[in-house]
Symmetry: C2
Subunit: 350 residues, 2 copies
């Protein structure tokens, strides 16, 4: 029959994959009970209620405790930490000198930006589709929404305003249903349509903070959704984030192509690799006649890709069902082979 | 039979409507000839070769000279000023102390901004359509393109890069075929797709200069095409230009509506009147079935108008022919009652 200290000893081997420390030191184990028949129960208190990695932690904890002699079963409950508990976790480094800052545990394998130069071409949709696709492939994914004055990412994923928590240690990203971590200016607001009237230096500062002060934890891919233009946001991302490359989004109109070429030349001058070009709104397929209408004109994607020294990954059609899913915050339910293919293309290209 | 001094005396009464001074003082009259039968010929040298007001000047000059005793006919030719002549015009104020700066002749009756908050909704198209409509109503119209990093206006009107001239006195706006004056960052570039990688303060500075240092001359309406966002460009326009009001452009997607509402609340906080809401890309009419497809979802324009305390001016359909006209730089040829109606609505609302 195991005793409490055996259980706690076993649980010291289970690491919070986000924070990089064991559950016992993080004061996450509560209400430990050992039943007469050897059945063990405890509650894991989570720093973030929707912690996307809770299943992984629970699995690890179950395995560690279940391996002990005399344990016949493991029952795990969850609850969110209260403010005091969370504060304690994030002030650990102050209480114990030498313990590094939580954000020092950030390990982001690669950062990919989605850019256009032009507005309204569907950058956020492409960013979201890539994130969903990568997550389905098993990656740990984050999205840094660098469109500070016109952020779309929280709405696409149905994340409520105010979902970003700040502590002395940094910002805790919000998590989507499928466990994609999101940092966005709109998550800092009480109401999603409150304007953020900031000048360039403030915007650049916010983006830098989103990168350095968010507790991203361990990510395979961080996607950055850039706003239109080649001003402060784009400059801040290129200068401060270790970009592996940029995916360009365009639409067929030559007017859009002209502005997208500005982004191409900016990236070329700054020696940022362009991984691929995605054309959105390429055509509309009439549901009645099945005829494809090029309602924004013929494609210029190949010319842009040639100027960028890369290839066209997709010509995406205008899809009213997809627009509706986005408006409803259910982008994670999308099930379109052409969108899933984008994330596979990304994995193959880096 | 008139003599040279009679002709020159008459021409001193003809004012360059742009600069506000008479043609003789501006050294614009050359090659004066008086034929035996009383036929008078001369050349008017223009500061800008495409000067939209040349017909007005020619008419005034013909009337002034033709009224002289003994004049049986007036033949007027035009040529552009050479660089030295143009410099002399613009340095007149230095040569003659007390002569005011040319830009002091700027007389802009009203300034109206076209804004959205969201990118890619068709702000530039709406701006262009309003300008074309007002011009057809006989107004003197200018467009200040405040989208410094993604300017679309020159492309819509087929204005070549490099069309903006600078002098010690200020910038000479480019003029469209129909005489709309345009100032845009893209007119300063040699190639239209050269990126302008500027931080916010530079962008704000450029917009201020476009307003204060351009030789707009006399305008009935100056339209300002704003970029997406509620950052430097929007702040600069609201703080530095005497805005009579703002026209908001949106598209049906709720995602767009959310960002447009940010612009509404910004304008409300800053006490800038919102004149009306124009919804673009409301639906696509299949040319085969004539069925209207709401491809970006149902309209949210009425909600936005309600939040803005104004009305919806139009639900514009997606029009591939119009997109093609815009890409070809022939927006002035557009002949759509729904677009002409917008300018009439504007005139009625201010």
């Amino acid at each position: 029959m195991p005793v409490n200290s055996d259980i706690m000893h076993a649980l010291r081997r289970v690491i919070d994959p986000e924070i990089g420390r064991n559950l016992v030191d993080l004061n996450m184990i509560h209400d430990l009970q050992i039943g007469a028949g050897g059945r063990v129960g405890f509650t894991i208190a989570l720093t973030v209620p929707t912690c996307p990695l809770r299943d992984q932690m629970a699995g690890d904890a179950r395995a560690a405790v279940g391996a002990l002699d005399g344990v016949t079963g493991v029952d795990i409950k969850f609850r969110p930490m209260n403010e005091a508990e969370r504060k304690a976790v994030f002030s650990l480094s102050h209480l114990r000198p030498g313990l590094p800052q939580l954000k020092q545990f950030n390990q982001v394998q690669q950062v990919i930006a989605v850019m256009s130069g032009k507005g309204g071409v569907g950058k956020s949709l492409v960013t979201a589709a890539l994130a969903v696709g990568l997550r389905r492939q098993g990656q740990r994914v984050g999205i840094l929404d660098a469109d500070v004055t016109g952020p779309s990412i929280p709405r696409l994923f149905g994340l409520a305003s105010g979902g970003l928590r700040a502590s002395e240690q940094g910002m805790l990203p919000a998590a989507t249903k499928k466990g994609i971590k999101v940092v966005s200016a709109n998550l800092l607001l009480k109401e999603e349509d409150t304007p953020i009237v900031w000048r360039g230096p403030m915007i650049a500062g916010a983006i830098k903070q989103f990168w350095t002060d968010a507790l991203w934890g361990r990510l395979d891919t961080l996607l950055v959704d850039l706003p239109p233009g080649t001003s402060d946001a784009a400059i801040a991302v290129i200068q401060n984030l270790p970009l592996k490359g940029v995916i360009l989004v365009t639409t067929p109109q030559e007017l859009a192509a002209m502005v997208v070429r500005k982004a191409v030349y900016m990236l070329r001058d700054l020696k940022v690799p362009i991984l691929g070009v995605i054309e959105n709104m390429s055509y509309f397929r009439c549901p009645e006649t099945n005829h494809q209408h090029e309602i924004f004109g013929p494609s210029h994607a190949e010319e842009i890709a040639a100027a960028a020294g890369t290839t066209v990954w997709a010509h995406l059609r205008i899809n009213p069902e997809l627009a509706a899913l986005c408006d409803a915050g259910r982008v994670e339910e999308l099930d379109l082979p052409e969108l899933q293919a984008l994330s596979e293309r990304l994995v193959a290209s880096v």
